[in-house]
């Protein structure tokens, strides 16, 4: 007896919603970043669930890709955040808005 796919998707949806709310409401760049990671993991979860449902490994392979890309993205993103912090002693994204208009 397998766990129904709906449960996985529900969990994935909740995680994704949490991440989205985090991205949209937080001002701290690090927290926004973490929320983005949450969204990514929500998607990974959905992929794996579908993979299992279809008995097809493609979904898992895709999840691995996603994790690798996310790791690379973390490196770049954190580096940018560190650079911003060194420059202005804060990582509040609302302060970093010189490139408007």
């Amino acid at each position: 007896m397998r766990t129904p796919i709906a449960y996985f998707l529900l969990l994935s949806g909740i995680l994704f919603a949490l991440g989205t709310v985090g991205v949209l409401t937080r001002k701290n760049a690090l927290l926004i970043f973490m929320s983005v990671e949450l969204q990514l993991n929500a998607v990974n979860l959905a992929l794996i669930a579908f993979s299992r449902m279809h008995n097809d490994l493609t979904g898992q392979v895709l999840a691995f890709f996603s994790m690798v890309v996310a790791a690379a993205e973390v490196v770049v993103g954190l580096a940018i955040i560190v650079a911003i912090y060194r420059r202005r002693q804060t990582v509040d994204v609302d302060d970093a808005r010189e490139l408007r208009w």
Binding site: V23, L24, I32, V93, A96, R97
Partner: protein, 639 residues
């Protein structure tokens, strides 16, 4: 015209193989003089003259070889290289030597060489001496290409080239504004005709698929319908009208006298302006395929002959008088060609080249001796001061007036005789009036210049020109005196030489008998000469006062009957207005306005649009989120 039999084309070999050197030498020397002429001074003129002399030698030799061939084989084409080759359309650089071009190359190089020699004296001390001779040689090159070209494109190349040289040489003393203006006027006016001619060439390509003379002339009658032939012929003739300064495009030639006198003699009397006559004679089969083209040519020639003659009678400037005389004489040539007497037109061309070059060079000598004074009112009594110039010029004048047994006598009377014997009375009577005008204006010029009392200080102190200037005058005077003997009657040598190419002179049987005809011709000439002697030479008439009584006719005639002013009002001013409108209204307001409006609109749009860039990362994230949801919703709805 009695249709000329098709002549087999002979390849150029032997001495004729050197034909290409004929234009090549002046071209080469022109470039040498252009680059080094300034440094070597007077030698530039000597080298340039030698180049043309050598060309003359080659030309004479080539013509001798040509004459050695039997008359029905006198057509030699030297193919140098392919110029254009597009599909089946080919244009080669072919030099074509036949009776017509043989005559022309002898005139161009012979008279050209004499004028070069003369110019060494005339241009002495000019700061751009070397460049002058470079231009002259370049002109000789283009003129030779024009007459030797074996297809219309090569002819057109030479045609435009001589136009360019004419422009450069009229404006040679460009420091004076009016000279530069005259150069522009000459170039633009002839360009009007040239544009029509180019359309004519395009029509030829359209109908024949080639520009080579041989296939075109061989099939002109069959390929072209009457209408097409008329169109092509008249378009070509429009080019001739521009180049040969016929009414209504004659206005540039009197102004072209702003150039140095050797230029007036070479380009605007002896050679370039006769290119139009050459073109008509060359294209005779096309003109004959049309029912009216030749009549148009004859009428234009006649109108020009009379109109320019009337203008010439009233001129004070010695060179302008000769310029109008040239226009008038060119009218005779077109009249001859229009009557179908191509050989007569060519003979007239040769005779005219002699005596008109002589008259121009003589006038240059007079101007030289008078310290650059050109007004005949200030001359008078120069016969004693400049005997050689005076005697040679009088010979030239007699030739032009058609005095018996001089060149012009034969030339003119061949033309009039054809009109007479074919009973084309209008042409005969008006042509005779033209002859009377010729005798009158040239007699007036001679008596005003050389006889009577000196009417100014310069005339008192006038001096004869150096030998380098009067020797060419003497040689040309021989040509003007005896040149007519080349053609004693329509069966004369030039006519029979031309006959295989252009056919016989169409002499009729009717008309006045020979004795009456010649009596009338001589009477006309003598009337003109005696009349002018009585007015200007006898001292019994106060001609300035008499002229005063005739006003405003002389003034109108002096100003060319205000054709210039009419053109100014009709074309130049509206043209300038149109240009002003195009530049400052249509372009500045219309086109620029449209472009600026588009640019401004985009700018204003962007001004509003860029406010979306708030700089808040989270609002961007929200936009991405909303966008993603919207896309998903749309996809879901579609499924």
């Amino acid at each position: 015209m009695v249709a000329a039999e098709a002549i087999p084309v002979s390849a150029a070999d032997g001495a004729l193989g050197l034909l290409w050197l004929l234009p090549a030498i002046p071209l080469g020397v022109a470039f040498v003089n252009l680059f080094f002429g300034q440094k070597v001074g007077r030698i530039a003129g000597v080298v340039a003259s030698l180049a043309v002399l050598v060309s003359f030698g080659i030309a004479a030799n080539a013509v001798r070889e040509l004459l050695a061939l039997p008359p029905e084989q006198r057509l030699v084409v030297q193919h140098l290289f392919d110029w254009i080759s597009v599909g089946s359309f080919k244009v080669g650089v072919d030099l074509r030597l036949d009776a017509i071009s043989a005559t022309m190359i002898l005139v161009v190089t012979g008279v050209g060489a004499l004028i070069h020699i003369y110019a060494i004296g005339y241009m002495h001390g000019d700061p751009r001496f070397g460049r002058f001779f470079a231009y002259l040689n370049l002109f000789v090159f283009f003129m030779l290409m024009l007459v030797l070209g074996g297809n219309y494109l090569l002819l057109y190349l030479g045609w435009e080239g001589v136009g360019l040289c004419s422009y450069l040489l009229i404006g040679f003393w460009f420091e004076k504004e009016e000279n530069a203006e005259a150069a522009k006027k000459a170039f633009i006016t002839t360009r009007i005709g040239d544009s029509a001619m180019m359309i004519g060439l395009a029509l030829i390509v359209f109908h024949f698929g080639t520009l080579d003379f041989e296939p075109i002339f061989g099939a002109a009658g069959e390929v072209l319908s009457n209408g097409a032939a008329t169109a092509v012929a008249l378009l070509l003739f429009a080019g001739a009208i521009g180049k040969s300064a016929q009414v209504p495009l004659h206005v540039w030639l009197p102004d072209a006298m702003a150039g140095p006198t050797p230029v007036s003699a070479l380009i605007h009397a002896a050679t370039m302006v006769t290119a139009g006559v050459y073109l008509v004679v060359r294209s005779a089969p096309i003109f004959e395929a049309s029912s009216i083209a030749l009549d148009v040519v004859a009428v234009v020639g006649l109108v020009t002959l009379l109109f320019a003659g009337v203008c010439a009678v009233a001129q004070w400037d010695i060179k302008r008088a000769l310029a109008y005389s040239t226009i008038s004489q060119l009218g005779y040539m077109f009249l001859a060609a229009g009557l179908g007497a191509y050989a007569a037109a060519m003979f007239f061309l040769v005779a005219h080249a002699f005596y008109k070059a002589l008259l121009f060079l003589g006038s240059g000598s007079v101007i030289h001796g008078m310290d650059e004074e050109q007004d005949m009112r200030k001359m008078g009594g120069l016969f004693r001061k400049m005997p050689v110039t005076a005697v040679t010029m009088i010979l030239g004048a007699l030739a032009l007036a058609g005095f018996p047994f001089m060149a012009g006598f034969f030339a003119k009377d061949v033309v009039l005789e054809i009109a007479n014997t074919n009973e084309r009375w209008g042409f005969y009577v008006l042509g005779s009036i033209g002859a009377l005008l010729s005798a009158t204006y040239i007699g007036r010029l001679i008596f005003l210049t050389f006889f009577g009392k000196p009417r100014s200080e310069q005339a008192e102190d006038a001096h004869e020109s150096p030998a380098v200037m009067w020797i060419p005058l003497a040689v040309l005077a021989l040509g003007a005196t005896f040149g007519g003997w080349l053609s004693l009657g329509p069966e004369g040598r030039i006519s029979s030489f031309m006959e295989p190419i252009v056919g016989l002179v169409p002499e009729g049987e009717a008309g006045l008998g020979r004795p009456i005809f010649y009596a009338v011709a001589v009477a006309v000439t003598l009337t003109g000469l005696i009349l002018t002697w009585w007015i200007h030479g006898s001292g019994r008439v106060d001609w300035l006062a008499q002229r005063e009584r005739l006003e405003p006719l002389p003034r109108a005639s002096l100003n060319g009957w205000y054709v210039d002013r009419a053109y100014d009002l009709l074309f130049v001013q509206p043209g300038k207005t149109a240009a002003w409108l195009a530049a400052f209204v249509v372009d500045a307001k219309g086109i620029d306005g449209l472009v600026n409006a588009i640019g401004g609109g985009v700018k204003r749009l962007a001004q509003g649009g860029r406010l979306m860039q708030t700089g808040f990362v989270r609002s961007y994230a929200l936009a991405v989120f909303v966008g993603a949801v919207a896309v998903l919703a749309w996809v879901g709805w579609r499924l």
